[in-house]
């Protein structure tokens, strides 16, 4: 998906080199535009630094202060307003939010992913679902949470619905593309023996795509974990994100922020290791 698009972008200039004559100077229209843009941005950046309203602020002091803060956060972390057990519990809450929204998303996305796959559905249905999904995905998760917060109020309900919503869109695209990779001939073979759509889906399509589906689902789980942390702070969805929000804006305790950051980092690393293990297992299976 995105990767494919990036690949295309990467190969495009190469095509141009192979296709046409090697230009004497690497200065074509695109290069000039890129350069001009970069120069303009550089000038604007420098101008911005001079035009900021620094008030009484001494730049050097501020820089040193920031480093001092970073040092406090990352080198002297401690927990003061809540215990280790509490932090662990809150991480679980955040993980729970990520898990729940990924699970809801996955279940709903399987059904719509099947309908969105051109080889399992009609061209029209597939088109309609794919366009809807493109729209859902174009709006960031956080925005969906805020949109649902209008009806449900800011809190865990809005977070669950909003995050599920975006997960559905993301996973429909991922799943339907895995389904479309499916060999047409296999579907034909089962149709020819009188099997019906549901039987073909569960006996041939899903077994053939299951590794992709698990990979994509896990990737979405990792994304949802990060979003769940942010939602705890921004939308009052609870969990470790909320504690971070309290530590920073209510208690102004930088060391606690550091401790929480390490906590989240640890969980993220564990998830990453777990994901890598699963993927390796799937590849060999």
């Amino acid at each position: 998906m995105e990767v494919k698009e990036q690949l295309r972008n990467v190969t495009a200039p190469a095509d141009h080199l192979i296709g046409g004559r090697m230009p004497a100077k690497p200065l074509n229209k695109a290069a000039i535009v890129t350069r001009l843009t970069l120069y303009t941005l550089a000038v604007l950046t420098i101008y911005a630094f001079f035009s900021f309203d620094y008030k009484e602020l001494d730049f050097m002091d501020a820089l040193l202060g920031t480093f001092a803060n970073l040092k406090t956060i990352f080198l002297e972390p401690h927990l003061k307003h809540f215990s280790f057990g509490h932090a662990l519990y809150q991480v679980m809450v955040t993980l729970g939010l990520a898990f729940l929204t990924t699970l809801f998303g996955a279940i709903i996305a399987i059904l719509f992913g099947l309908l969105a796959a051109e080889n399992l559905s009609s061209k029209k249905t597939s088109m309609v679902i794919k366009s809807l999904v493109a729209f859902i995905r174009a709006v960031p998760t956080v925005l969906w949470v805020l949109i649902f917060a209008v009806a449900a109020g800011l809190g865990s309900t809005a977070a669950v619905i909003g995050m599920t919503f975006h997960s559905i869109g993301y996973l429909i695209k991922a799943y339907s593309e895995s389904f479309e990779e499916m060999d047409r001939g296999v579907i034909e073979a089962l149709q020819a023996s009188g099997a019906n759509w549901w039987q073909i889906v569960f006996q041939a399509v899903i077994p053939s795509s299951i590794t992709y589906m698990i990979s994509w689902t896990f990737l979405r789980f990792e994304i949802n974990f990060a979003v769940a942390v942010a939602m705890g702070a921004a939308a009052g969805a609870g969990g470790i994100g909320y504690d971070m929000f309290m530590a920073s804006s209510f208690y102004l305790d930088m060391r606690e922020i550091g401790a929480i950051t390490y906590f989240i980092l640890a969980v993220a690393i564990i998830l990453e290791i777990f994901a890598a293990k699963i993927k390796r297992k799937l590849k060999t299976a």
């Binding site: 060999d183 001939g185 296999v186 034909e188 073979a189 089962l190 149709q191 020819a192 023996s193 009188g194 099997a195 019906n196 549901w198 039987q199 073909i200 889906v201 569960f202 006996q203 041939a204 077994p207 053939s208 299951i210």
Partner: protein
């Protein structure tokens, strides 16, 4: 005797004016081994797929047993399809599943949706699968994954999947086109055995005229969507081959007498 399959004035048109089949008529008797030969693009695959309605024909009619295939509703069509096994050039197995799971797929058409979805097969069905795999010489491979098999072994699983349907007829679309000569011979021998010992009718698309002559009771030659030969394998002459393959026939250099002798 009433024919098992009867095809009358069958036509198939793709798009506006590309006719794949024009007024094709023939019948196939119970237990007969029939080969369909013809140059590439003649319409062999199209013809085979029209018979079990993987493709809907444009005109004409097809009778299989007592069913007018062209008029069948969805459910009745599935019913008829369970009686017709199909075998493909590229085997079309589910690579990630085991040999026995792939074989049992042939039973899906006769199962309830839920049982099929959950892959719940009865003891008898499993025993039948094992027995068929034994006959096809795959007894050691039963729990191997399909993608670990050789081409010839995969095609034998394809045959097993078709046989477990207890079909009246097998439709084979170039079953040996991707195989080396030895595996091809094994597959053709199995198909012949299926036809003679089990009384199952076999209709097979072939590219190799010599193989068709060797194994078939009857050969149907198709050129540009029309039947240009329909007769015994023994009666096929070089002129017939010329008519079936047109200008391509010159490339098919072989001694027809030698084949008949062998």
């Amino acid at each position: 005797m009433k024919a098992l399959l009867e095809v009358n004035h069958l036509t198939k048109q793709f798009g506006k004016d590309s006719k794949a089949l024009t007024d094709v008529s023939f019948s196939v008797q119970e237990g007969e081994f029939v080969s369909i030969i013809g140059p590439s693009g003649a319409g062999k695959s199209t013809l085979l797929r029209c018979i079990n309605r993987m493709i809907d024909a444009t005109g004409g009619d097809i009778r299989f047993q007592d069913s007018q295939v062209m008029n069948l509703k969805k459910k009745e069509l599935k019913q008829v399809r369970t009686k017709i096994g199909m075998i493909f050039q590229h085997y079309n197995l589910v690579n990630r599943l085991s040999v026995i799971e792939n074989t049992l797929h042939g039973k899906l058409g006769t199962k309830s949706t839920l049982a099929g979805v959950l892959g719940l097969y009865s003891k008898e069905e499993k025993q039948q699968a094992v027995q068929i795999l034994n006959v096809l010489g795959l007894n050691e491979m039963i729990y191997k994954r399909a993608d670990q098999l050789s081409g010839g072994q995969k095609q034998r699983v394809g045959i097993a999947r078709a046989l477990i349907q207890n079909p009246r007829m097998l439709l084979c679309d170039e079953p040996i086109a991707s195989l080396d000569p030895n595996s091809a011979k094994v597959i053709m021998d199995h198909l012949k055995k299926v036809s003679t010992t089990m009384g199952i009718t076999v209709v097979v698309n072939l590219h190799q005229v010599d193989v068709a002559i060797k194994y078939s009771d009857r050969i149907i030659g198709i050129n540009k969507g029309q039947v240009v030969y329909n007769g015994s394998a023994k009666g096929l002459t070089s002129e017939d081959i010329q008519r079936i393959y047109g200008s391509e026939a010159d490339d098919l250099i072989f001694d027809i007498g030698g084949i008949h002798a062998g």
